[in-house]
Symmetry: C2
Subunit: 131 residues, 2 copies
């Protein structure tokens, strides 16, 4: 209910809108400081958490354990992730039908977004010895 939007949350949202992509908390912090804002790193994390709970932004945890944040948008992307080099390739398709989402809602869940990721070896990593 409390749609109180603190100043730091506004700043975070503003930057995310401008970016139109995903970014991690630390880089977000640096960019905001570059803008002249004076907020602290802890506040950035707290703001991101609040926005996530509101369903305004989404979080993707990378294989390195680092979180990336972005606005939730209709034209989201999924990825092919290489377990060898860690790089990922964007896909422009999404097989998740509205029908499936409604099925989830039926379980009393309020769905904000979904993630679909494929894992395997990219061409380069297939043709070389591990390690």
């Amino acid at each position: 209910m409390s749609v109180r939007r603190t100043n730091s949350q506004k700043q975070i949202l503003s930057l995310l809108k401008q970016l139109q992509g995903e970014i991690n908390a630390q880089d977000l912090y640096v960019k905001l400081r570059e803008r002249g804002e004076t907020l602290g790193l802890a506040t950035v994390y707290r703001g991101l958490k609040a926005l996530k709970l509101e369903g305004t932004i989404q979080e993707r945890v990378s294989p390195t354990g680092e979180s990336f944040y972005s606005l939730i948008s209709k034209d989201h992307q999924h990825h092919l992730n290489c377990v060898g080099c860690g790089r990922s390739l964007s896909l422009d398709i999404c097989p998740i039908e509205q029908q499936l989402i409604e099925l989830c809602q039926a379980k009393n869940f309020q769905i904000f977004y979904h993630t679909l990721e494929f894992f395997g070896l990219c061409h380069a990593c297939q043709n070389q010895q591990p390690n």
Copy 2:
């Protein structure tokens, strides 16, 4: 090509088969020690990495940044994850068609597995103040 399987890798695989579920590296280490094995924690991490590169096991990074490992199996599961309490509910459906996977292979990617996760608020978390 080198399908050399070290002793520690065998032990890790053996435990994962017995478990039939996912486990993090630290717990895996403890369980192996309880079995009487004498391997070190670093070796567990190394073994998991090697098995992952082989396409034998899969890794799921939790929102806390912790990794969970399990055997890759046909009857995998997807989840509804609550961004509030962090709990997740298993789904028994998977909308990913073989056709889609072949499309990925066409991009020179060798797919081992995929993950599909929904995020939102569970019933309990919808009806309470944040924080």
